[in-house]
Amino acid sequence: MSETDNPPRKLSNRQIAWRAAQDLEDGAYVNLGIGFPELIATFQPAGREVIYHTENGILGFGPAPAPGQEDWDLINAGKKAVTLKPGAAIFHHADSFAMVRGGHLDLAVLGAYQVSQTGDLANWRVGTSGVPAVGGAMDLVHGAKRVAVVTDHVTRDGQPKLVAECSFPLTGVGCVTRVYTSLAVLDIDGGKFLLREKLPGLSMEALQAVTGAPLHVEGTVADLNVPEDI
């Protein structure tokens, strides 16, 4: 990461997930990617009902059962045990991806290696060596009505993850419309990153310095406020 005037405090994954959770809409059908995106459900705001979809054929699953109470015939796409909420439905894999591909999900939230300013997503492999694995991500990015990403703003060695053009193998072309990072919230529209929120005290210059494509502003940029102690 380049040196900046205000070396920014950055949000934890839990804080990023909290911020993303604030945008969950009441009554929405949502698929949360394996791992980091799953955290979002933890922070679902009170008073809103969200129906979670998992690729392996459940709509309306709830939190994990207590340890020792797992039923391994009730799992999510990450192979973790889940419970069923009243009104849940079970179906087979082709029906599950008919839901995905047919545009019936309101929102999918995924992790990312890179997101480009045109909404391209790279999140399934970083090169051509080793064992590749893709899962349902390529389907989700072209199926859900809205595709959002939660991610650190930069890689572990400080390279921007928001880029002009992805260098890693693509998961989908022009599919991401919102990104929640450890520093900011951005929309992607018209081939541009539109900055919506940034951490209080983080300067535009500092944020631009760790972003691999130009940041655009339409209207005001709000403070990205997240509880400290989560």
């Binding site: 994954n13 959770a21 009441d26 059908y29 990617g33 394996i34 791992g35 980091f36 799953e38 955290l39 459900a41 933890t42 922070f43 679902q44 705001p45 009170a46 008073g47 809103r48 009902e49 969200v50 129906i51 979809h53 459940i58 309306g60 709830g62 939190p63 994990a64 059962p65 207590a66 990450g78 973790k80 889940v82 069923l84 909420k85 009243p86 009104g87 849940a88 439905a89 079970i90 179906f91 082709a94 991806f97 008919a98 839901m99 995905v100 591909r101 047919g102 545009g103 019936h104 995924l110 992790g111 290696y113 893709v134 349902g136 072209h142 199926g143 997240v226 509880p227 102690d229 989560i230």
Partner: protein, 271 residues
């Protein structure tokens, strides 16, 4: 996909009382997700002129007679909706349901597989008078085109119809020595369907063999309106017994003692 933080999952919420930590528990918000409306008139109130409408049912089984008649009532009272395209296996029987829509003059096109039956006078008269357009589709291709629309598949190949008049002008191609015709998805603005039990989230089951086109039409329409015989609370339908998951349903209306098309046709009922 990224596999960060795999050890943490939603159950964290149940033991973490810190701010922002809403706890997703095994209950539903009681005021959320209620897709039910009070009357069939409410249910069809938004259908606009020119809409493409899938209507479920096959013969007397699974036809949403009350929803159709609510649409006819609205047309008689207001002149709208009109200029409708109707997608169904048939083209109306007797003097009720789709036949009543045709007689009322609110339909300009029918997409179906079998418009000619012993009781299809309403369609036959309008069609032969040149007042109705017809797109004839083999029944299995009709079902698959509807399913494809629901599943986000814009085109597919089927052997059905190859070498026949119904494949004229369509691309054909050989796979493993057999000829196939390319067909396209068939989408709709609205689906009117009939189910038996529903919950307010829109999960549905069907009576007997009345599923037929209903579940796939629910998938293929932008807005799906279901009439149900019985509204039950979420959870009343076991998750494995749900035939149409609520994600495919926009609006529900309870019609506790629904009419059966076959009975009405045999009684020569005219709506």
């Amino acid at each position: 996909m990224c596999e960060v933080n795999k050890s943490q999952y939603m159950n964290e919420g149940t033991r973490d009382p810190r701010p922002g930590n809403a706890i997703p528990a095994l209950r539903l918000q009681e005021d959320s997700l209620d897709k039910s409306v009070a009357t069939t008139a409410d249910a069809v109130a938004e259908v606009p002129d020119g809409a493409v409408i899938m209507i479920g049912g096959f013969g007397g089984s699974g036809a949403p007679i009350e929803l159709i008649h609510a649409l006819v009532d609205r047309f008689r009272a207001t002149g709208h909706p009109t200029g409708l395209t109707v997608i169904n296996n048939n083209a109306g029987n007797g003097g009720i349901g789709i036949a009543a829509m045709i007689r009322a003059g609110m339909v300009t096109k029918v997409i179906c597989s079998f418009p000619r039956t012993a009781q299809s006078e309403a369609f036959t008269e309008a069609y032969l008078a040149g007042e109705l357009a017809l797109e004839l589709v083999p029944q299995g291709t009709l079902a698959e085109r509807i399913r494809a629309a629901g599943a986000g598949i814009p085109a597919f190949f089927t052997p059905t119809g190859y070498g026949t008049d119904l494949a004229e002008g369509k691309p054909v191609e050989m796979f493993e020595g057999k000829m196939y015709v390319r067909e396209s998805w068939l989408k709709a603005d609205y689906a009117l369907i009939k189910a038996e039990v529903g919950d307010r989230m829109g999960n549905l089951t069907y009576r007997g063999a009345s599923r037929n086109f209903n579940p796939i039409m629910a998938m293929a329409a932008t807005t799906t309106i279901a009439q149900i015989s019985r509204l039950e609370p979420p959870g009343a339908i076991p998750p494995g017994a749900v035939i149409t998951p609520g994600i495919f349903v926009s609006t529900l209306v309870e019609v506790t003692d629904p009419q059966q098309e076959e009975v009405l046709v045999r009684a020569e009922t005219v709506y």
